[in-house]
């Protein structure tokens, strides 16, 4: 209950700041919150449901691919040291590259459709997953594996009882970090080569100079991000109960 009250309080404070800024600026480019909320019913007429669907579709598949590629790689770097000796430096070298700059190349190779957008977001988020999982597995105390081996555990049992629970903690940490980046990248990729998606919707309303509706789109995007974080937090609270102090 206290959490809900605090969240509502923060929301109210943000709206007050927004209102104050709008009044101070006094231009149509920054409408007041009330003007924007009054434009909300129009969102339905502008197919906001479809825009939302396409954005979530792209975001969801990107995160699935990031996990499918990133979790095994992160685990193997630690648990298969010979493989890790080759792959870890490659990850180290490519992680800091600004991969968004490769967007034109990805679009040329994968076309203007959903694939290019999903590939782009995956390319950016997969590194966070690899690194977080790698670090989480690396932090498993040596004594844990020792205990399991002394009990006669085979490789599968070592994975199930030690490596997997540890990497799950890494995945959830990474998803939390990656989600913000993924949504920013999603917005950027939806500016090109599509007529659907929240990124497209926001830029389209900007081109039409319909600022209240543009802000309504931004509020929806922010609400989506908030909802995804809330889901992630709930999953984390359940799966990582052992980390709670």
């Amino acid at each position: 209950m206290a959490r809900v009250t605090k969240t509502l309080g923060a929301l109210l404070a943000l709206n007050l700041l927004w209102w104050l800024a709008a009044v101070l600026v006094g231009k149509p480019v920054l409408p007041t919150p009330l003007t924007v909320y009054a434009a909300f019913p129009q969102l339905l007429a502008h197919q906001i449901g479809w825009h939302l669907y396409f954005s979530l579709y792209r975001l969801g598949w990107s995160l699935v691919w990031s996990a499918v590629i990133g979790i095994p790689l992160g685990i193997l770097i630690v648990r298969a040291p010979r493989f890790g000796a080759w792959v870890d430096p490659v990850v180290y070298l490519t992680y800091p590259l600004p991969k968004i700059a490769l967007l034109p190349v990805v679009m040329l190779l994968a076309g203007l459709g959903d694939s290019a957008k999903i590939i782009m977001i995956t390319m950016i988020t997969v590194f966070q997953i690899i690194i977080s999982v790698r670090d989480a597995v690396r932090q498993v105390p040596a004594g844990v594996y020792k205990q399991l081996r002394v009990a006669g555990a085979n490789r599968w049992e070592l994975f199930r009882d030690a490596t997997w629970p540890a990497s799950l903690a890494g995945v959830l940490t990474a998803l939390r970090l990656a989600l913000g980046t993924a949504i920013a990248t999603l917005f950027f990729t939806e500016v090109y080569g599509t007529s659907y998606g929240l990124g497209y919707f926001i830029m389209d309303e900007w081109n039409r100079l319909d600022y209240p509706l543009m802000y309504a789109g931004i509020v929806v995007l922010a609400a989506v991000a908030f909802a995804l974080f809330a889901v992630l937090n709930a999953v984390e609270r359940r799966v990582l109960r052992w980390q709670q102090v």
Binding site: Q147, A166, A169, R241, W242
Partner: protein
């Protein structure tokens, strides 16, 4: 089961740590292995449990030691609890691994009994990060005793405890051990602990050592630390090992 170690040699990195070490522990005997850090005490456990390549012959009764075929239990200094498993799950873990995750009613009961005896039944659903050091140590002891091991190895298992908690931990260990006597290797750098709990002593030095009798071996475990001969024996042992440990 009788533990026999013959010609055990182990190398860590490129450093030889155990050099042709031989000793035996009778069935249900407690051998205290003494030595300062770096003398190969932990290496001895790693070699016995096949965590480290070694040469030599290590047997329990007549069978070569193999974690897949015998029940081995290790209580390490950091207790080796799985952070993502509750206390009850940690205690049952070795049994579950060896039974392919199918425990019968008797095994469930054994786990519950050991937990109750060690006073951790009410902590069953807690995770290790919510436990004190003393509680974690009791969970590790419960895990070891619950599986009714063929060989129990304590690797500085009492070292991280403060004196008051340590005294209680000794009592709990002794009561559990007496309820389920098991061939035991007690690895320690603590001379008092070695004399209080060991039947015999093996003083490791440069990876070698000979077994010698504990002068207090005939005094019952429960009263040994109160015995008038205890502190003189500690002083004598201190004098004996001091020169070699300071080399």
């Amino acid at each position: 089961m009788k533990l026999t170690v013959a010609g055990l040699t182990a190398v860590r990195g490129d450093q030889p740590v155990l050099a042709d070490l031989s000793f035996a522990v009778p069935d249900r005997g407690i051998l205290a292995v003494l030595g300062p850090s770096g003398t190969g005490k932990t290496t001895l456990i790693d070699a016995l449990t096949r965590q480290l390549p070694s040469t030599g012959d290590c047997r329990l009764d007549d069978a070569p030691i193999d974690p897949r075929h015998q029940h081995l239990a290790v209580v390490p200094q950091d207790y080796g609890l799985l952070p993502w498993r509750t206390v009850a799950q940690n205690v049952a873990l070795p049994l579950k691994v060896s039974q392919h995750h199918r425990l019968d009613a008797a095994q469930h009961q054994a786990v519950a009994q050991v937990m109750a005896a060690l006073g951790i039944a009410e902590l069953a659903k807690r995770y290790p990060n919510r436990l004190s050091g003393g509680q974690q140590q009791r969970v590790a002891l419960a895990r070891a005793f619950a599986q009714a091991p063929d060989l129990l190895m304590l690797d500085e298992a009492f070292s991280a405890l403060d004196p008051v908690v340590k005294a209680r931990a000794y009592q709990l260990f002794i009561s559990q051990w007496q309820a389920r006597p098991v061939t035991t290797l007690l690895i320690t750098h603590d001379l008092e602990e070695a004399l209080a709990l060991g039947d015999a002593l093996l003083i490791l030095h440069h990876g070698q050592g000979q077994v010698q009798a504990n002068p207090l071996a005939k005094v019952p475990l429960t009263t040994r630390r109160e015995d008038a001969r205890y502190y003189p024996a500690v002083a004598a042992l201190r004098q004996e090992v001091e020169a070699s440990w300071q080399e």
